[in-house]
C-alpha cells in the first residue's frame, strides 16, 4: 500500500494515466484518512459516504491536475475532500452543533501518512496557533474541523457575527505571519 509521499505522488500520476490498480491502491491508502476528515465535518455517516464517493470520482477525473511542486499528495487529497464536504454541509446544515465537543484541540494522532518533514510542519502550525488567544484559536479550529460558518461560531461562543469575522481574519493573518510563508 503506498503510504510515503513519493509512493502517493507516483500513484496519483499513474491514476492520471488511467491506471486502475493505482487508483485502488491510492484508495486503500488514503480513504480512511479522508473519511475521517469528511465525517468530522458532516457527522452523518450516510452523507459522508456519499461525499467520499464523489471525492474519489474527482480524484480519478482530476489526477492529471495534481502538481507535486505545489502541494504534497495528502494536502491535495484533503483539500478535495474538505471542499466537497464543506459544500455539502453548507447546502444541508443538518448537524446538531450541540453535539460537537466543547473545546477543540489540534488532533494529534500519529498519522501514518505524515512523514517527518510534515510532522515538523504541523508542529510549527500548532505552535503558531498556540500563540493566538485561546478563544481565537478555537474559532479557527471550529471552522476548520467542523466547517462552522461565522454565524454558527457566533451562536456557539455568544459573540456578534461581525466580531467573529474580525477575529477570524485577524487570527488567520497572524497565523500567516507566524508561519512566514
Amino acid at each position: 500500500m503506498p503510504t510515503s509521499k513519493a509512493d502517493l505522488t507516483n500513484a496519483i500520476s499513474r491514476v492520471a494515466k488511467g491506471d486502475r490498480s493505482a487508483f485502488e491502491a491510492l484508495y486503500a491508502a488514503t480513504s480512511a484518512k479522508l473519511f475521517g476528515v469528511v465525517v468530522r465535518i458532516l457527522v452523518r455517516r450516510d452523507l459522508a459516504e456519499e461525499v467520499l464517493q464523489e471525492v474519489y470520482l474527482r480524484v480519478w477525473q482530476r489526477a492529471a491536475e495534481y502538481d507535486p511542486a505545489l502541494s504534497s499528495p495528502i494536502t491535495w487529497l484533503v483539500a478535495i475532500a474538505r471542499n466537497r464536504a464543506l459544500d455539502e454541509v453548507k447546502r444541508k446544515p443538518m448537524r446538531s452543533l450541540e453535539e460537537m465537543p466543547g473545546v477543540l484541540e489540534i488532533a494529534n494522532d500519529d498519522d501514518p501518512l505524515a512523514d517527518h518533514g510534515r510532522k515538523e510542519e504541523m508542529l510549527r502550525l500548532k505552535a503558531c496557533l498556540d500563540r493566538l488567544e485561546p478563544e481565537k484559536s478555537q474559532i479557527v479550529l471550529l471552522a476548520y474541523y467542523y466547517g462552522m460558518t461565522r454565524e454558527e461560531i457566533a451562536g456557539r461562543i455568544k459573540r456578534p457575527v461581525s466580531t467573529v469575522k474580525t477575529w477570524l481574519r485577524r487570527s488567520l493573518a497572524q497565523l500567516k505571519d507566524c508561519l512566514g510563508q
Binding site: V15, A16, K17, G18, R20, E24, Y27, S31, A32, K33, F35, G36, V37, V39, R40, I41, E49, L52, Q53, Y56, W60, A63, L70, S71, S72, I74, T75, V78, R82, L86, D87, K90, I106, A107, D109, D111, L113, A114, R118, E121, M122, L125, I139, V140, L141, A143, Y144, Y145, T149, R150, E151, V164, L168, R169, L172, A173, L175, K176, L179, Q181
Partner: protein, 250 residues
Amino acid sequence: MTDDDDVDGLAAEYVVGSLDPTERAQVAARCRTDVTLREAIGDWERRLGTLADGVPGIEPPAHLYSTIAKRIWGQGGASIERAEATPLRRSARRWRGLAVGAGALAACLALIVVWLFQNSPGPPTAFVAELHRSAAGPTADESARAAGPPGFVVSLDLAAHTIKITPVTVRPAPRRSYQLWLTQGGSAAPSSLGVVSQSEPTTWAWRTLATPADLVNATLSVSLEPEGGSPTEMPSGPIIFIGKLVPATP
C-alpha cells in the same frame, strides 16, 4: 462579498470553512477568473493542510470502493479485463505474432468494425482505429487503402474513460518518441493525447471533451518527436502513422 478587498482574508476564510453558503458559492465562481484569489486559496490550503493530519482515520464501509468503481467504470466496473479482451485486442495480439497474413487480418478487423457499427443501437461508446504508415498516402483513407498491416491499433472506450494504443508493426526509434494526436473535424488543430510506448500497449484516462458524434471520423496520428514528446503544443516532427476513429462495440 465577492467585492471583498481583502482577497487573502477571503481566501483564508474559504479554506478554513467559515463562509456561509452564498459567499462560498460566490468565491468558487470568482475563482474561475480571478487568478490572485485562486493562488491565495492554494497557499492557504498548503498553510492549513497539516491540521487534517492528526484527524483520526475512519475505515469507510467495505462496499464503498466497489460502488465508486461502478460509478467510474460503469456496471462492468468489475470486468475491465473482460472489456480489454475484445476482438480488437485479440487481433492485435495475433498481428504481433503473425508476420504473414497480417494484412488479411487487418482487412478482417475492418469488416468486424463495420458490422458492429451497423448493428449497434444508440450513440457509440467505443471506437477503434488502425493507424497506417502515412507514407502510403497523405490522408487517413489513402493510407489505409494502400498499406498492409497497421503500425498501431487504438481502442477508445468512452464508458470506461480509457484510450489504449497498441504497437503492432512499429520499429523502435531509439532516443525518439512517438506521440499520439487527435484531430476532431476537418480544420481543427491536433491535440496531444500523449507519448506512446514503442513496445507495449499504453493506456491513458480519456479526458477529452467530445461527443460520440465529434469522434466519428476524427483522425488520430502518430508523429516522431524528440525524446519525451513535442516541445510545443503541436506535432514538431513528421506524422508517421495516421488513421480514423470508427465506432465499435466493446
